[in-house]
Amino acid sequence: MLSIDHMGEYHVATSIEDALEKLSRCENDSQIIAGGQTMMLLIRQGLINPDLLVDISKIEQMRGVVENKENIRIGAATTYSELKRSSVIEKEFGYYKDALSEIAGPQVRNQGTIGGGLVYGDPALDTPPVLLTLDAELEIQSLEGIRRVKLEDFFVDYYETAIKDGEILTGIIIPKLPKLSAGKYRTMTPRHGDYALAGVCVRLTLNENKECICARIGLTNGGDIPKRAITSEKILEGTLMHNEIIEDSVKCLGDVLEINEDIQTPKSYREKVFDGITRQTIIDVRSILDGVEQ
């Protein structure tokens, strides 16, 4: 509780450049704050005690959803509520909204940002697996310039990402999905608004012959980082995804799952949950695509 009375500095940045400069001039411990929905807990619990907080939530360049011909750019400081209301997201990849509705409650979604959730690197968050199925890329800015990192290369280890000191995640770039694509996010969550025990997002793209030409499977809480089940994806690709193929795909989840035992849920139970929800979600997405007019 002591740290909350700490007379640190709070700087509300007016531009990305302003934020970067402010951070570079700080010789003591500094942190970036966006929505603050996790940062405030870390400060109050005394886990961090920064001398400077740079608030990036009001920077115009970092807010909103912009659509162009090939892709969609989401400003990293866009809140989950704003994403939920976005007509562009609804039109291009509406299944992202399944995951947005899973995040905490409305008050947290009104403040929490897409970028904040990504840089926190929590493997239990709902949105990273969905963004993995969308082949998202991240735009990261520092005083040296802008670099792009694929989301699948961004998560390094438990709560650790590829972002370095002096860098800010400014935007998320999502290529538009090809025709005949659909997706779904599903979790097993003990209580609504709580962290998922297991979650999976599946996105499939078919060709005119109903063959799967692209499969993406993203996992929530399946290990130390949000991750894709690449072997399982590959088994679906190039096939008509009959039930036996789906079964083979689900069997390969073990290649990527790294589940730790915990007191409430044995590893074997959570593995079964992953198998069940992945099988069902692939079948559901296949059915959605069966119903799509070619």
Partner: protein, 154 residues
């Protein structure tokens, strides 16, 4: 940080506190607006819900440095010239309170819900209140109250 100016319920307050202090603690302990309650301290229960310009937030998760210059509305700010808001009146009319501790948070979350969607379905009301916990009522009367307030809104 000295001399932070906060715009709460259309009144300006000046406080000298750490900008990292939660808005909830500033409201309760520095300003004395104790209608905003305190319970889980971790963004789960919703008793500390207040309104900012972008909608309802949990004030225990907002560092006060974040809301300088922003309009803040607490439960004390809903009453205008001695008259309760429609939502407050609906909670009374529907007996939507037992111990009452969670109710300011529910009223603020529900007020925010109706600002966004003035004709919510029961399911939308339930979702809109999913960030608030009540341990007495079982929620039925709370949902009735929000429905009543929404109907009187039209």
């Amino acid at each position: 940080m000295s001399g932070m100016k906060l715009d709460i319920n259309n009144k300006i307050y000046t406080v000298n506190v750490s900008p990292y202090k939660s808005l909830r603690d500033v409201l309760r302990y520095d300003i004395g607006l104790t209608g905003t309650k305190e319970s889980c301290d971790s963004g789960v229960c919703g008793v500390c819900t207040v309104l900012l310009e972008k909608g309802a937030v949990k004030s225990c998760l907002i560092p006060v440095g974040k809301v300088i210059g922003e309009k803040i509305t607490t439960i004390e700010g809903l009453e205008i010239d001695g008259e309760l808001s429609k939502m407050q009146q609906a909670f009374i009319d529907c007996f939507a309170s037992q111990c009452g501790y969670c109710i300011p948070g529910f009223i603020m979350a529900a007020t925010s819900l109706l600002e966004e969607n003035n004709k919510p379905t029961i399911q939308e009301i339930r979702e809109g209140l999913s960030g608030n916990l009540c341990r007495c009522t079982g929620y039925v009367k709370i949902i009735d109250a929000v429905k009543k307030a929404a109907e009187s809104e039209i």
